[in-house]
């Protein structure tokens, strides 16, 4: 999709204006959709459980557009893409393990809160 200019060096890939504007309008459309579903979703009968996954799917689509075309990932060296995507893997690992752990011991915090609030009432 990049322009072909014979006089450009090999590492220079200008992206056509048409494509950039196309991506931009795509992004705007997705933003409007996500705000609209959030504001009107329940009115239109969308189950509330869908709202969050839908918002995340739309965000990921937007992120893909930005990465692939604005950030030239589509044409970039695969090593760079790999490096960037690997960071997401480590973030997932970080979130996953801590979430698993805190989820497990959450009852001990809730029990503590309940007892301590009860104590406060007794003392006052």
């Amino acid at each position: 999709m990049s322009d072909h200019h014979d006089d450009l060096p090999a590492f220079c890939h200008p992206v056509s204006t048409k494509l950039l504007f196309g991506v931009f309008f795509g992004l705007i459309a997705l933003t409007i959709i996500t705000v609209a579903t959030s504001a009107l979703g329940s009115a239109l009968g969308m189950p509330p459980a869908f709202a969050f996954p839908l918002a995340m799917v739309i965000a990921t689509m937007k992120a893909f557009l930005v990465c692939a075309f604005f950030m030239h990932m589509w044409w970039d060296k695969s090593f760079n893409v790999l490096a960037f995507l690997s960071s997401l893997l480590f973030v997932t690992l970080f979130i996953g393990m801590t979430m698993m752990d805190t989820g497990e011991y959450q009852p001990t915090i809730e029990a503590f809160d309940v007892n301590n609030l009860a104590n406060v009432e007794v003392s006052e």
Binding site: Y105, T108, I109, A111, F112, N119, E124
Partner: protein
């Protein structure tokens, strides 16, 4: 009256431990049961364990922990001797002579041997993991009939509350009676650690943590805080006393309970609630020393002076923000004891303070 003995409870030093050991031994001898030599149960006895290397095995799983420790120790030793032995042997045999570089031709790659020395240790590692995890489940998952003891840790002391509502700052247990500690912290992280039980668990503010064990050997053991908690971390030690029977436990804690003069009640409250921050030897700690303050005019941080009388003591215990003594500001580090100590308790404390003042005065 010998009031000095219980005074040492707050920060149990070694002589205190010895004293307790003698005392409990004496009680055991008089008591119903004689220490039983068959206490170390079948399957937990450990041929490698030595008293030199480890503290006493006083909990049901201590033997298993030590077994794994010694097993790993021997495995490591074999590997270590093999590694260092061959290293030294090669260094002697193949050392460069007269500066002439002459390595003998030999292969620099062998996939078979690489795989071999990756897989063999892996098998041993899986075994170690398995044995470790098995014992650990025993250590972490309590039996249903376990006695529940509430543990409150704070800078820098312990408070144990038993099922019958009694409170001590030494942990009293009964042999062969499984215990589940329900632990909470009033301030920062602490950690419950009794080496003889091989059990350890952090105490995290804002939630409960639990520790479980079954003492199988009577005696007096060191209980220490194992997670760094501030200035007095190394002083946050107390005794864990395992009695041979429930009766013994009652008898043994009673010698504190029996003499119930207001002074002694006050002293006991001091031990449990105040001794972490206030000393009675005239030395300032987190808070001012308490032995000479009664009837004194104390300077406050705002420059005023306050007479230490009944009102002052009550205010200081219930509303610590009200009077802040010079040198301990800018804000009070003390939590309010309103709701924990009632008017009567405060009276006991006052009796204790008065007596302390007299005692110290006499000494001088």
């Amino acid at each position: 009256m010998n009031w000095q003995l219980p005074l040492m409870l707050a920060q149990t030093d070694s002589s205190r431990l010895e004293e307790l050991r003698e005392r409990t031994e004496a009680i055991s001898m008089q008591g119903t049961t004689v220490p039983d030599s068959s206490l170390v149960r079948e399957g937990t006895s450990n041929p490698f364990a030595t008293e030199y290397w480890f503290p006493t095995q006083a909990s049901s799983f201590a033997g298993e922990v030590d077994f794994l420790y010694m097993a790993v120790f021997w495995i490591s030793l074999i590997f270590f001797v093999a590694i260092v032995g061959s290293m030294v042997y090669f260094c002697v045999k193949y050392r460069r002579k007269d500066g002439v570089i002459a390595p003998e031709p030999s292969s620099s790659h062998n996939t078979a041997i690489e795989i071999l020395w990756s897989v063999l240790p892996s098998i041993i590692l899986v075994w170690i993991f398995y044995v470790g995890a098995e014992t650990w489940f025993e250590m972490r998952i309590p039996k249903e009939n376990a006695e529940e003891i509430q543990v409150t840790a704070k800078q820098f002391g312990w408070l144990f509350t038993y099922e019958d509502g009694d409170q001590t700052n030494e942990l009293h247990l009964v042999r062969d009676k499984p215990v589940r500690l329900i632990m909470q912290s009033e301030d920062v992280l602490h950690s419950f650690f009794v080496a003889a039980f091989r059990q350890k668990m952090d105490i995290v503010p804002g939630r409960y943590t639990y520790a479980y064990f079954e003492p199988i050997k009577d005696g007096v053991y060191r209980l220490s805080c194992n997670e760094y908690c501030g200035t007095g971390h190394s002083k946050m030690k107390t005794a864990c006393i395992v009695h041979t029977s429930e009766e013994d436990r009652k008898n043994n804690t009673k010698w504190i309970e029996a003499e119930k003069t207001p002074f002694e009640n006050g002293q006991r409250i001091y031990q449990i609630h105040c001794s972490g921050c206030h000393k009675v030897d005239g030395q300032p700690a987190t808070g001012p020393a308490l032995n000479l303050i009664w009837g004194k005019n104390e300077r406050m941080i705002d420059g005023t002076t306050e007479l230490v009388d009944e009102d002052y003591v009550l205010d200081s215990i219930w509303y610590p923000e009200k009077h802040i003594v010079e040198g301990y500001g800018p804000v009070s580090k003390m939590n309010s004891f309103k709701g924990i100590l009632d008017q009567k308790d405060v009276d006991y404390v006052i009796a204790y303070l008065k007596e302390l003042k007299d005692q110290s005065g006499d000494a001088k």
